[in-house]
Amino acid sequence: MAADATASIIRYAILPWLFLLFAVVLLKILRGDINTAGLLRSRPGGPVELERVTILAASLFGIGAYALDALHGGALHDLKTNTYRMPDAPESLLVLLGGANGLYLAGKLMRLRS
């Protein structure tokens, strides 16, 4: 009985801990305690680069869409093996993120060569 209660406490304490960790990191980014200078530039003081804006937007949109989908749908139950699994990420999302990352790396390599 005590073990069950402790397991419940652990189960429900780790999730708030993880969210608090996210919140602390987010707060530190907003306050400037975590360095974000040059996130959209390859050189300090240089222009904002299109491929960096693209990958940032694609990443936030993609992972946000997947998170919403997973939260709405919940875990999928496999009746054969009686196991649960996270929902699949759509193939189009993989293509979108793969393309954005490839564009970003290509831009970086081209700037290095030039």
Partner: protein, 204 residues
């Protein structure tokens, strides 16, 4: 027992030694009580599980507390390493690949934990989601390799880091100015002393 440095031959400070002794005595007391009252092994396992859980939660709370209060510095969490020509203590510019990797890890870890709690069991992670993390991780590694080959990518430094550096520079300038004034005052004092000595000696 004391070797003159505030530590005993076991290498522990006073409070750490006291804690160790209390801990060992507590273990012996619990073991004796368990033997005397015939506690079942299952109950001992539960006690151990509770103690283990408390320790894990204490670790988690300590890490969060240290991050929140600045004991664990996160200023370079998404920054590239500083270049060899950068001054010591400086940090590199922020890396988009690291930021993406951080976001993906946070979201997938949070979803995994929530779904585990919802179902009451471990959930499997599909290959597509692992592919997402793989894309992000691969991009991070390639970006890191390219960044190390790029000699022009210099440090960015956070606003707070820059403010701290500026404040330190201003303090150093003030200290240098004060030192110059002190040196000039010393020279004037020496010249006055020399003149006084010449006057005391007189013309003869």
């Amino acid at each position: 027992m004391d070797n003159g440095s505030g530590r005993n031959p076991f290498g522990l400070s006073g409070s750490a030694m006291l804690f160790t002794i209390v801990f060992v005595v507590a273990i012996v007391a619990v073991a004796t009580a368990s033997f005397k009252y015939g506690v079942k092994p299952a109950d001992i396992a539960v006690l151990g599980f509770v103690a283990f859980s408390i320790i894990i939660l204490a670790f988690a709370a300590a890490v969060l507390w240290q991050i929140g209060t600045g004991g664990i510095q996160l200023v370079g969490l998404i920054s590239e390493p500083a270049g060899p020509s950068d001054p010591p203590g400086n940090i590199g510019k922020a890396s988009l690949a690291r930021f993406q990797f951080l976001i993906f890890t946070f979201v997938v870890a949070g979803l995994f934990l929530m779904l585990c709690i919802e179902t009451g069991a471990f959930v499997e992670i599909p290959t597509n989601v692992l592919g997402l993390l793989g894309i992000s991780g691969g991009s991070f590694i390639v970006s890191k390799a390219v960044g190390q080959a790029d000699p022009k990518a210099t440090s960015g430094g956070s606003p707070s880091q820059g403010q701290a550096n500026n404040a330190q520079g201003a303090a150093n300038q003030q200290q240098a100015a004060a030192n110059q004034q002190q040196a000039a005052a010393n020279q004037q004092q020496a010249a006055a002393d020399q003149a006084q000595a010449n006057a005391n000696r007189g013309p003869g």
